[in-house]
């Protein structure tokens, strides 16, 4: 099955990021394709490489980066939402890209499921 994920909250402040990640991980483990994680609203803040949490805590941006590199999951931040919140190519992790809402529509169309995590 092909699955798209929509993530609407930023890292750490809400559990949404963690839930989305755990879900993606479990879906991949069960043999599904996680096509893309689309970041909207404050969700765009998930992919700044300046994130620097305490050493004994998870690094949420690095985790998305690894998910892209290991499993080909596209990590996409909405451009309009990113601009409002100061997320630009300058600070983006390697595994993520900035794109428009048309891409989200494509994701909604081409996947069997679109599941949302947020607040």
């Amino acid at each position: 099955m092909k699955i798209g994920i929509l993530l609407k909250e930023g890292p750490y402040n809400h559990q949404a990021s963690d839930s989305a990640y755990k879900f993606a991980e479990a879906a991949i483990k069960k043999g599904h394709t996680v096509d893309a994680v689309f970041l909207y609203n404050d969700g765009v803040s998930n992919v700044t490489k300046l994130m620097d949490p305490p050493q004994d805590d998870r690094n949420i941006a690095a985790r998305w980066d690894a998910l892209h590199k290991q499993h080909g999951v596209e990590i996409l931040a909405c451009i309009a939402a990113s601009k409002r919140r100061g997320i630009s190519d300058e600070v983006l992790i390697e595994g993520a890209s900035i794109t428009g809402l048309g891409t989200l529509t494509d994701i909604a169309i081409r996947n069997d499921r679109l599941i949302t995590f947020g607040d």
């Binding site: 609407k8 559990q15 755990k22 991980e25 479990a26 879906a27 599904h32 499921r113 599941i115 995590f117």
Partner: protein, 97 residues
Amino acid sequence: MLHTINKSPFASDSLETCRRFLQPGDSVLFIEDGVYAVQAGNKFASLIETIQKNNSVLALHPDLGARGITVVADGVRVVDYEGFVELVEEHQVNSWL
């Protein structure tokens, strides 16, 4: 359809609102702070019982454990992330935010 609810029913109207839109046969999965709804013996016990007449009610084990909820209301099925994925295989998803 699989409805997910991620907010505490004490703090938010998500559960009370979602329940009005449930169709017979839909499943309801509580995740994140939503899992407080199914802690045994709280004031939502009778609502959860009512919902179970037409819908299956589930809760995510990792979120229950994180919150120290060891006993859930009668009839509530506890699943892990693998079970969550299985529910998504079976249903389209409606995440009540």
